[in-house]
């Protein structure tokens, strides 16, 4: 099996090596660096609009968020946040007192994608292109899973005399088997920067590949995310229902395989709802979700094991869908982070106080979906949690919204080299 190239037309076998692809990408470097950033923003804004209109992309999971994220206003803010307040640094030297400062591309950015989120490649690809890097993207699965359709719509996008098809000359999306060490090595050695998304084993394997001395590595994952519902939230007049509905949205999207999806949700004990009642509310919202497209045997068995483990244990309880391994609510009082089962499996743990959760937090925990309903407590928790290593504390419902910073990193700022001129 050799290298498959994913384009707007789909996937096809192209070669035994990556060399021709890498050469073609490197030839695009100077052309890409000449495109003003405002033209790139215009093109991506047009792309954003087309994504929601186009039959090929409008039903992709997470497309509404991707479209909003690609809008000029959002990317402009992202650039300002990442580039010292002025995106024009990407177009050349700007005066900085008596001297000059510019943000130059690294060159070729190699990206290893996780297979869990169809739109994920775009969240690395777009910042890398805005930083005027040529991009070699390796998908996790041979099935493009919508990436070909995204590329097709991008190819047809146009603004300010810049055509999406021309921009895509600077991008190659490929797949090859993860066991092909030779191809992984070639990709790593071609890179001026590496962006790696994935689980523990993938990250370990890819970061151990040889790379050039100047090559920068940006790693996302593996991470674990949690939720926290405070006593005041449960006892407030708003009640719990809307908060639980929002958490269930976070659970449903990307089938809980994103590092930002909540796995364990802590509930502060309160005078209004028992843990069992909270579990029933979760169950009701999970039952209202549309069915899943499918599920592998491994995750199915993980779900069945978790259900049985919680059912057999006298100190625990479980509510499970009757229609196979669809959704599961596991409940207990064991203050710990439960092993992530994914695919609509939520672990609810009752605690006396949110303070019991703090010792569990570390850099391994990426996002906390936070519903404390008390500004002071929210701030106190966020201070303690982020001090412990957590990257994001956000309200339920937006846990999976990709934003900058992500995992504690301003991604785009790491995809440029800051250069100086002191005449």
């Amino acid at each position: 099996m050799s290298v498959a190239r994913i384009t707007a037309e789909g996937s096809q076998q192209v070669d035994q090596t990556l060399a021709p692809i890498v050469e073609a990408l490197n030839r695009q470097r100077s052309r890409l660096s000449q495109i003003p950033v405002r033209k790139l923003l215009g093109l991506l804004d047009d792309f954003a609009g087309r994504l929601l209109r186009d039959e090929r992309t409008r039903t992709l999971e997470g497309i509404a968020f991707l479209s909003a994220w690609l809008r000029r206003s959002n990317l402009q803010k992202l650039l300002e946040l990442n580039l010292n307040g002025n995106p024009a640094y990407l177009d050349g030297f700007l005066p900085e007192g008596r001297n000059y400062l510019a943000a130059k591309p690294h060159g070729l950015v190699a990206m290893w994608m996780a297979g869990n989120v169809a739109t994920l490649p775009m969240f690395s690809l777009v910042p890398a292109l805005l930083a005027k890097n040529v991009c070699l993207v390796k998908l996790a699965y041979p099935d493009p899973a919508g990436m070909d359709r995204l590329l097709a719509v991008l190819a047809e996008s146009q603004a300010d005399e810049l055509a999406g098809a021309d921009l895509l000359e600077a991008v190659a999306v490929v797949w090859f088997d993860y066991t092909r060490r030779d191809l992984n090595e070639a990709m790593s050695l071609a890179a001026d920067a590496k962006v790696i998304w994935g689980g523990g084993a993938a990250i370990k394997a890819i970061t151990s590949l040889p790379r050039r001395e100047h090559c920068v590595e940006i790693v996302f994952g593996p991470k674990y995310s949690i939720g926290l519902i405070g006593r005041k939230q449960s006892e407030s007049s708003d009640g719990l229902d809307s908060v639980i509905a929002a958490f269930v949205r976070d659970v449903a999207i990307f089938d809980q395989r994103a590092c930002s999806a909540p796995q364990t949700i802590f509930i502060e004990r309160n005078g209004r709802y028992s843990l069992g009642e909270v579990g029933e509310m979760f169950a009701r919202h999970l039952a209202a979700l549309p069915g899943k497209p499918g599920l592998d045997a491994y995750t199915t068995m993980q779900i069945l094991n978790a259900r049985a483990q919680w059912a057999l244990d006298q100190s625990r309880d479980v509510i499970a869908s009757a229609d196979g391994a669809n959704w599961t609510v596991c409940m207990d009082h064991d203050v710990g982070l439960k092993e992530a089962v994914q695919s609509r499996t939520v672990f609810l743990t009752e605690v006396e106080s949110w303070r019991e959760v703090i010792p569990l937090l570390s850099p391994k925990v990426q996002t906390v979906g936070l519903a404390l309903a008390d500004p002071e407590e929210t701030l106190a928790f966020a201070e303690a949690a982020t001090e412990a290593g957590v990257a994001r504390c956000v309200r339920p419902g937006i846990m999976n919204n990709f934003e900058s910073p992500w995992d504690g990193k301003l991604v785009l700022s790491q995809l440029v080299r800051w250069v100086t001129l002191k005449p």
């Binding site: 699965y141 523990g200 395989r257 930002s260 068995m301 479980v318 391994a325 710990g336 092993e339 391994k364």
Partner: protein
């Protein structure tokens, strides 16, 4: 969930009939109806005596009275025997504890066996194997070491299987010795004497698949040893995961093992079974398919929906058996995948469902950036 004692005694008689009777004569629909009516009573009775299983049924299944088919019985994941002591009898009634082999540092399964279960398991195994190899006792060569069949009230999976097959032995020879390291080494002198004395007669061999392959067949090939045992039958089970890792197919295993033994490849019989359901074995037929005996059944379930698959479809293997009464082993969903090959229509003439084991369920390659153990698990 109180069980009626009269019902329990009634199903005892039915279970005895199934063990005694022909093993592969019942059409699937008849068998399903008979088994589910027994399982309704049996599972309710075990649930009454094993509180964790009672909770399991109550939380994750329909009422036993609502079970219409064997597939309606909520299957307990086989891994639960590694995590919980699931006995339906008090400790004084346990005559033997079976243990699974524990790999990669996991806890082994612990299965509490009472007198009734032990008796049924032994007789059931004999009843099934009789239909494949005949009832006559014959010289028995165990491709393992005597130490693996430790005496006492605790028995490993290997030991339990050897003891079960030993019912067909006129006398037993162990082909291997156990080294101080715990590794096994063939005693070629003993093996040669066995074949010299009995090679031309019907002989029975038994071993665990990976041990047979790695310690016996490969070693014999390396030494250029070939025996002549044209009337030998080799029963083997377990360990396909390790063989698949070495890219050894079932066909290759059978061909090369038969060549070393000097017997017909059709007499190399693989059977599917597990310590959590000892006595219940699914033996290869002449067509290479595994059949469920009269007192047991196989349900191959689709991932996600858990609905039974159609013929020709692959899914997760669940095994059901009416033998255990001292633990909740009546319906167990395994970590294996298999294909449902046919129902009542196997070319070998045996009725009921037949299947083929395909592989162990492996961790999927890409579970995404959220695929991580929780920190608490890592550091504890």
């Amino acid at each position: 969930m109180p069980a009626d004692e009269t019902d329990v005694r009634g199903v005892d008689r039915q279970i005895e009939e199934l063990i005694r009777g022909p093993q592969y004569a019942m059409m699937q629909a008849d068998k399903d109806a008979r088994l589910v009516s027994i399982l309704r009573v049996l599972c309710r009775d075990v649930a009454r005596r094993c509180a964790p299983y009672g909770r399991f049924l109550q939380r994750l299944g329909k009422e036993p009275d609502a079970w219409q088919t064997v597939a309606d019985v909520p299957p307990l994941p086989v891994a639960m025997f590694k995590r919980f002591e699931l006995a339906a009898v008090p400790p004084e009634k346990v005559v033997r504890q079976l243990r699974s082999s524990s790999t990669t540092g996991q806890e082994p399964s612990r299965i509490a066996i009472d007198k009734t279960t032990a008796f049924r398991q032994g007789r059931a195994l004999v009843s099934v194997l009789k239909q494949h190899i005949g009832g006559r006792r014959r010289p028995f060569l165990v491709l393992d070491a005597a130490e693996s069949v430790a005496a006492g009230d605790s028995l490993s999976a290997r030991g339990a299987a050897v003891r079960g097959v030993e019912n067909f032995a006129s006398h037993t020879t162990f082909a291997m010795r156990m080294l101080a390291s715990g590794d096994l080494e063939p005693d070629w002198e003993r093996v040669e004497v066995f074949f010299a004395q009995h090679g031309d007669k019907p002989v029975l061999l038994f071993g665990f698949t990976f041990i047979v392959w790695s310690r016996f067949v490969l070693e014999a090939e390396r030494r250029g040893l070939q025996f002549r045992a044209p009337r030998a039958v080799l029963l083997h089970s377990g360990g396909w995961k390790k063989l698949q890792a070495q890219a050894v197919s079932k066909e290759e295993f059978t061909r090369r093992t038969a060549a070393v033994l000097g017997c017909e490849p059709q007499k190399i019989l693989d059977f599917y079974g597990m310590v959590e359901q000892a006595g219940t074995v699914f033996v290869d037929c002449e067509a290479g398919n595994k059949h469920a005996p009269a007192f047991a059944d196989v349900v191959i379930r689709r991932p996600y929906t858990l609905l039974p698959v159609e013929v020709g479809e692959m899914g997760i293997i669940e095994v059901a058996s009416v033998l255990p009464t001292s633990y909740p082993g009546q319906a167990l969903i395994t970590d294996d995948q298999g294909t449902l090959v046919g129902v009542d229509d196997c070319p070998c003439g045996r009725k009921g469902s037949c299947f083929r084991f395909t592989h162990r369920i492996e961790r999927v390659e890409v579970r995404g950036c959220g695929d991580t153990f929780a920190q608490s698990r890592e550091i504890r």
